[in-house]
Amino acid sequence: MPVPERGETFLIGPSSAKYRHYLLMPSLFQDYAPESFFDEVFSAPGQVRPHYEAVVQAVDRMTPEEFASKQLGADAAFLKQGVTFTVYGDDQGTERIFPFDLMPRIIPSAEWAHIEAGLIQRITALNLFLHDVYHAQHIINDGTIDRESVETASHFRQAFRGVKVPHNIYVHICGTDLVRDDQGVYHVLEDNGRCPSGASYLLENRQAMKRALPNLLHSLPVRPVDTYGSLLRETLAHLAPPGVIDPVIVVLTPGVFNSAYFEHAYLARQMGVPIVEGRDLIMRGDCVFMRTTKGLVQVHVIYRRIDDDFLDPLVFREDSLLGVPGLVESYRKGCVALANSIGTGVADDKAVYAYVPKMIKYYLDQDPILPNVHTFLGTEEAERSHIVANLDKLVVKAVNESGGYGMLMGPTSTEAERDEFKRRILAHPRNYIAQPVLQLSRHPVFMEDHFEGRHIDLRPYILSGEQTKVLPGGLTRVALRKGSLVVNSSQGGGSKDTWVLWDEEDPSATALPNV
């Protein structure tokens, strides 16, 4: 194939004479092909979307060697600072750096306003749903959602019905995974309402960008993300029992061997609060105390990064050594607050997910702003037959797993894997759902000396305290393997810094209530 004449068919950005000059130099995007996917940067070969023009020009001014050296510098910084995570079931050493790609993902203000409105709407409905299913259960009694779907969710805590939680907020910190389809439409892939991780990477990615490409970052109206620590602290402080003016907040971690320990420590430091393990906490009466070098200190709010199952051996798994015996009773009595609350997993169960649009309609009398991905339920006979008959075309997910575990990618699966899933689905239909394979949007990712398209998603973080706020940014995850659609860090994904722009012309486009 003949190489196109630069400046003609391969035209990037404004066609000013000055810019043409750059195009005559070797280009990092020279052979970049958006192919048939929705590409975040290029609307067509050589056609840069307006909000990416400045970045593409700046990157294109660099030689591959220059860009590679900046990329290496960023990687080294991540390793040096210990920005790592652990992969379970992998024996290549426990800790890895989370691969970082230097070219930022950019979201224009109007697009962000849409995302933000959709997320606020969704998390509001999810919190109302949790309140409802743990109290009067109107949505079930009205027949809008069937009882079985809710009460058979493995994270539904029957014992927690009727317990009043502070301000009726169940999910205080939510990380919702969004993907764009081949038309660029944002869909919600899943809600993570238990212990969503990744916020620390988001913050570190921005730091890495500030060091690697400072001028570029400041040349655009990028909204800051470094408010996360104070927003998180504010969200947690809001939960303190009535009358406590200056609450003691702690981060409860399972310990240094947990895959997200870096993040637990990082967020505690960002908020300026202690990080504790279960053994550091002790019950006195109905209250929770922390052992310190100066004696016992009462704890009012616990940002727990331990799953429900391990939280309190008296209530959940009795073999858990990570939790605090009596903690749940103290929470019930309102002496200590937990974030997130207990039993929130019923809202991010993948079978319950299918009902979120109905929840939005039911509690808020609105249509969803961000659509779901079409979901086939294992429990519905017709849908189950469809799943089993089309395993090679669908993505099958175990309803209670996260992090990309327990998943079948139909088109790339082997016959044996499909047979295995068929057997499992028929044996435990409630445990599986299936979705069509979405052709996720792609973004240029730097590969040694040039850019290639890789699939991405977006995990924004929503904080529900006195008000619901969405951090203007998010963790853009990248499926680094060519053609792969799996972006989870535990499955070999990487990440990018996410730049949400603001629009001085139309401030309402980026300024929702409560933000």
Binding site: A136, H138, D142, R223, Y363, D365, W502, S508, A511, P513
Partner: protein
């Protein structure tokens, strides 16, 4: 102007109440998505939220909570773009004579007495005195607005949601709702159609407008062939882009943000907390 509004109302009951049935007028009747950029209404305890349009085309959400509950929370948030209907100046030049031939059935309810606005002789007497020999409708309305503002005392907590125009006439004090009822009564006494508007008021930096701390109310006057124009007697100002119109009606009874019934002992409401924030939507 782009405004963001947050309005939270929380009822705390002395004992459990039940069978609560409520109607909410929080969504602007004009909800064109190009103007209303965001809207969310949340009710706790959670229940099914539904809506209808009432006879004034107000957007009415309604819900029922049959089970016993100790608290009720209603929270609305929105981002809305407002424009001033006075961009081309004040609509002068339409004379009272143009109302002589009568008005159509859409407008006629706004000439009649309503629940909180009776057209008693002393209201009429005052209206005639204020009007003097003015012939222009809008000019007359402005004179009435200034008279109400200048001769009635703005006094929070002296009146309540159900205060009637008769009491406002007698005590010569009140809040925005009372000022508005008075102005409506004066206008209707002269045969000028007038309606009640419930909404919000943006108190800009350095401004000291009354009624911006809670939901606000003002009055609209109908000009034949031109339409409705808002006047704010509480602040003696035209209702412009600082005013966010939510619902309209003959008086407070038609446009109240929250109305409803529940089953419980007398004086069941121990505490009522209201938070209203109206801010210009700029970047923090």
């Amino acid at each position: 102007m782009h405004l963001r509004i947050f309005h939270r109302t929380r009822y705390v009951y002395r004992t459990a109440v039940s069978q609560s049935h409520n109607e909410l007028r929080f969504r602007p009747a004009s909800d064109n998505p190009r103007r209303l950029k965001f809207f969310l209404l949340k009710v706790e305890p959670p229940s099914r939220l539904r809506h209808f349009r009432d006879e004034h085309y107000n957007y009415v959400h309604w819900f029922e909570i049959p089970e016993p509950h100790h608290e009720l929370l209603i929270e609305a948030s929105m981002v809305i773009q407002t424009t001033s209907p006075y961009a081309n100046g004040e609509p002068m030049g339409i004379l009272l004579d143009s109302l002589k031939g009568g008005v159509d059935e859409q407008i006629s309810p706004f000439l009649l007495p309503s629940r909180y606005v009776s057209l008693d002789p002393e209201v009429w007497r005052l209206a005639v005195d204020i009007r003097q020999d003015r012939q222009d409708i809008f000019e007359t309305a402005l004179a009435i607005m200034h008279h109400v503002h200048d001769h009635w005392e703005y006094a929070p907590n002296t009146t309540h949601a159900a205060t009637h125009l008769k009491d406002v006439m007698a005590t010569r004090q009140g809040v925005c709702q009372d000022f508005t009822h008075l102005m409506i009564g004066l206008l209707r006494s002269l045969g000028i159609p007038a309606r009640y508007v419930s909404g919000y008021l943006f108190n800009g930096p350095g401004a000291h407008l009354r009624g911006a701390q809670a939901s606000h109310a003002w009055c609209e006057v109908w000009l034949p062939g031109t339409g409705w124009f808002g006047l704010d007697p509480t602040n003696a100002t035209l209702a412009d882009d600082r005013h966010v119109k939510i619902a309209t009606g003959r008086d407070y009874d038609d446009a109240a943000p929250i109305s409803g019934t529940m089953s419980g002992p007398p004086n069941a409401t121990a505490r009522l907390e209201v938070t209203v924030r109206v801010e210009e939507a700029t970047m923090d």
